[in-house]
Symmetry: C2
Subunit: 341 residues, 2 copies
């Protein structure tokens, strides 16, 4: 019995967290909750949608009649500019910090019914350029700029018009701080960047690769926690999304289309996920330890309606998965690169 068919743990080198892998458990019966697959046929324009072109939002603002993307301040953002100087409390058991930040909504397309895999490569280039433009502006004022998308009702997405969000703040969030520490320690210990080495090794081993092109590599990482989790890695020495050149942007638009199309093909549904970019902190420190990457965390496990529950053991101990990352990668490789339904 090798490590890969007996229960084992794998360590995430970006965070130091472990995941418990139990390959033999993949075939247990499931009688628990099922989700509702979103099969609704949506119109290209919905007069009640707060993101459609020309519509008026709850706060009275009217969206322009936009052609590609449109960005506005989140009307219900979790962050806002600080009214006073951000203060902190250092009592060890009651530590807090007042935060200063901004939340924006990024409409990916004027068309209400589209999702990323259904958009054209030029339209996806426009999305990436919009991310770049807002990132470039926000990183002047904020050390930590989170660009992400919640896709699908199951992922808490409050409405279906294709969109993502940008939350920017001065402090480093917990995940960025962890990844920053681990990447810095790796550079110190090995003299090379963690994810630069990882790109090379995954290309050698090949069994966790989902797809790749000139500038990007998509793998189910060795330490994936979610069943079909992927890590989208820039092959070049880039730390911030606004530093991508036109060739890298074009190549990114292509792989975003391919990766999300492969997801949709696994269960022949609009595959829900949360995805987000991890840029290096914009804090003026040297950043050669960091490599620009995006995480995709999709919840589905067995079908369009049965997801993985990260509950009890996962909350109290550590993440747990059934199918191995190698199996998940093989499934994602076997389906068509083109959305096929």
């Amino acid at each position: 019995m090798t490590a890969f068919d007996h229960p084992h743990r794998r360590k995430n080198p970006l965070t130091g967290r472990w995941v418990l892998v139990s390959p033999h458990r993949n075939n247990r019966p499931w009688l628990g909750a099922t989700e509702v697959a979103s099969t609704a046929q949506l119109p290209a324009f919905d007069a009640d949608c707060p993101l459609c072109p020309g519509n008026t939002r709850a706060n009275g603002e009217t969206n322009p009649v936009y052609d590609t993307t449109h960005v506005f301040a989140n009307d219900f953002g979790a962050l806002m500019p600080a009214a006073t100087e951000p203060a902190a409390g250092a009592e060890p058991l009651f530590q807090h910090q007042v935060t200063d930040g901004e939340c924006r909504v990024v409409c990916f397309s004027p068309e209400h019914h589209l999702t990323l895999p259904e958009m054209s490569v030029p339209a996806l280039v426009a999305v990436v350029q919009t991310w770049q433009q807002h990132y470039r502006e926000l990183r002047q004022r904020f050390a930590c700029v989170h660009i992400f998308e919640n896709k699908g009702a199951i992922m808490g997405c409050s409405q279906p018009h294709p969109h993502g969000q940008i939350w920017a703040h001065q402090h480093l969030s917990t995940e960025i701080e962890l990844e920053d520490q681990h990447q810095a320690a790796y550079l110190q210990a090995h003299g090379s960047a963690l994810l630069a080495d990882y790109v090379v090794k995954e290309q050698q081993q090949a069994d966790r690769i989902v797809c790749q092109n000139a500038h990007w590599l998509a793998v189910v990482p060795y330490w994936a926690a979610w069943p079909f989790e992927t890590l989208l890695l820039c092959k070049d020495d880039v730390q911030h999304i606004d530093a991508l050149n036109p060739a890298q942007v074009e190549s990114l638009a292509q792989i975003l289309k391919e990766l999300t199309s492969r997801y949709d093909n696994v269960f022949q549904c609009s595959f829900p996920y949360s995805m987000g970019w991890h840029n290096a902190p914009s804090d003026g420190q040297p950043q050669s330890h960091w490599r620009l990457h995006a995480h995709f965390y999709p919840p589905l496990l067995r079908s369009a309606t049965v997801k993985k529950h990260m509950v009890g053991y996962e909350m109290m101990a550590e993440s747990q998965r059934d199918l191995t990352p190698e199996t998940a990668a093989a499934i994602l490789r076997q389906v068509s690169a083109v959305r096929s339904f």
Copy 2:
């Protein structure tokens, strides 16, 4: 504007993770996914339930006709005894460990339709004693014994018969290792146990207390991530659940009934949650830094059908909450201590 109505972060001293608190966001409209509240009237006995007394499970084993609790090996456990000597791989980007462990299912009651708040205090004493008995046996062989309950279909519970699980293994899970390090560092720095000091300070401040009795304190911790998260703390210097004396066990049964009844009363439903015990590691090291405690992580946010989604930002950055822990504690204090529907 104080720290408590402006967006701020709070730090979890047990893990070092921060949570973003955005009190002003509590009133944003919700048009996203809703959950199905479980309103089904269940029978006291279900001939198809694998946990009911006298029934035969899928593997051919027959449950005894039990009166109080019943424990059996999980037929689809994520852990199993290692066939060979557990091996480890130390390549920095591909670290793994073969694990050795056991998974058990703990039926809380023979009656199919009950939940913890609906059980009598003596019946709950029997549950605690069952936890103690299996913990005592498993800690001889395993350093880390996780006792937990997933309650409700929304929490991935695969069937409704009242039950929890025990997963035991030799390695320390990620959460236990983190809590162990943080509690040890606190003892080193302050000369007292982190959670011992915390019990005293929460009793002084009072505004996060949900309920308490002779030996136990239930608070919405200062750093709570889930809307109605609670921390159940032993007031006495106890590190392992099997070390609780009969008075502490009786007092625990009482507060388990009260806390879960208060939960049910918030939205007049069987309140879903994952709960779990955090015992000190059984690794032969001194453990005066550790205090026995349980975490309750309930997902509901606004009603029996609207939960908090820990998605996008929460996955990529850190947990985020809308209502403050102080508001959540006030709500839990205001409802009846007795299940009232």
